[in-house]
């Protein structure tokens, strides 16, 4: 056996805590893992979304309670926490939707190339973060 063959690197299962933080992902990699994270976040916060739907459409009184949740809070949860959670939900929905449209576009157009993967991923990140900033500013009453 040659010296070269002996030094061949050996790949085993990676350790999530040790190895993952050292990985440098390309833009498409960030879009992919954030697609998954945003989906899981929305799944876990689904009861909150239904609660928001319930209080906002059920009656005038519950609508007032819904609006107040963002200012003075609801129950033991202060308004700022409700606002921040809403901001997370806004980002998660926007990112998931735009990344999903990117998926469908790629599937429909067979637009699978290294260049398009990168440029569309950058567009996804810029759009989702930009729209989140715009809607977040509205949420926090900046305009």
């Amino acid at each position: 056996m040659t010296e070269l063959a002996k030094k061949r690197p050996e790949f085993r299962n990676i350790n999530a805590l040790v190895d993952l933080p050292t990985y440098r992902l390309p833009a498409a990699g960030f879009v992919s893992i954030l697609h998954r994270i945003s989906g899981l976040v929305m799944f876990l916060l689904l009861p909150l979304l239904v609660w928001m739907f319930d209080t906002s459409v059920s009656s005038e009184i519950s609508f007032a309670k819904f609006k107040a949740a963002f200012n003075v809070g609801v129950g033991f949860v202060p308004g700022i926490v409700v606002q921040l959670v809403a901001l997370v939900l806004i980002w998660a929905y926007l990112h998931h939707l735009i990344a999903g449209v990117r998926h469908i576009y790629m599937d429909a157009r067979h637009a699978v190339s290294k260049e398009f993967g990168k440029s569309s991923a950058v567009v996804t990140l810029v759009l989702s973060l930009g729209l989140t900033a715009a809607l977040g500013a509205k949420l926090f009453g900046l305009y």
Binding site: G39, L40, F43, P47, F53, F63, L97, D107
Partner: protein, 121 residues
């Protein structure tokens, strides 16, 4: 539905065909279109949106029926997506089964609540 139960199929698995892949895209597209419908109603409403205008968007029978289908589509979409997460990261069959059952109970509970809210409008 399928008769071909190969030796590698497991009870907490999936991805044995085109169905989930297509369903995920169809439901996703429906949710996107629904988002645009609701969003356009919000954007093209003149004046501040109070309770009447907001609840009015969902109160028509057509919109209720549409919203109902979207709730179903969303539930199926989340089921496929979250199950994929468990399948990728959770390998013990027993733990995965517990998580899948939790996911279904969580989803169906939310769906029931949302439908109740919708149909008493």
């Amino acid at each position: 539905m399928s008769v071909n139960y190969g030796s590698k199929r497991i009870v907490v698995g999936a991805h044995y065909g085109l169905r989930d892949w297509l369903a995920q895209r169809v439901t996703g597209a429906l949710i996107t279109l629904f988002t645009l419908v609701v969003l356009s109603q919000v954007l093209f409403t003149s004046g501040e949106i109070g309770y009447d205008k907001w609840a009015g968007i969902f109160s028509g029978q057509c919109m209720k029926a549409l919203t109902f289908s979207i709730f179903i589509a969303l539930t199926y979409h989340v089921w496929v997506g979250v199950r994929d997460i468990w399948m990728d990261y959770v390998k013990p069959v027993g733990v995965r089964l517990v998580l899948q059952v939790f996911t279904l109970v969580w989803l169906v509970s939310c769906l029931g609540w949302a439908i109740q809210v919708l149909w008493r409008l």
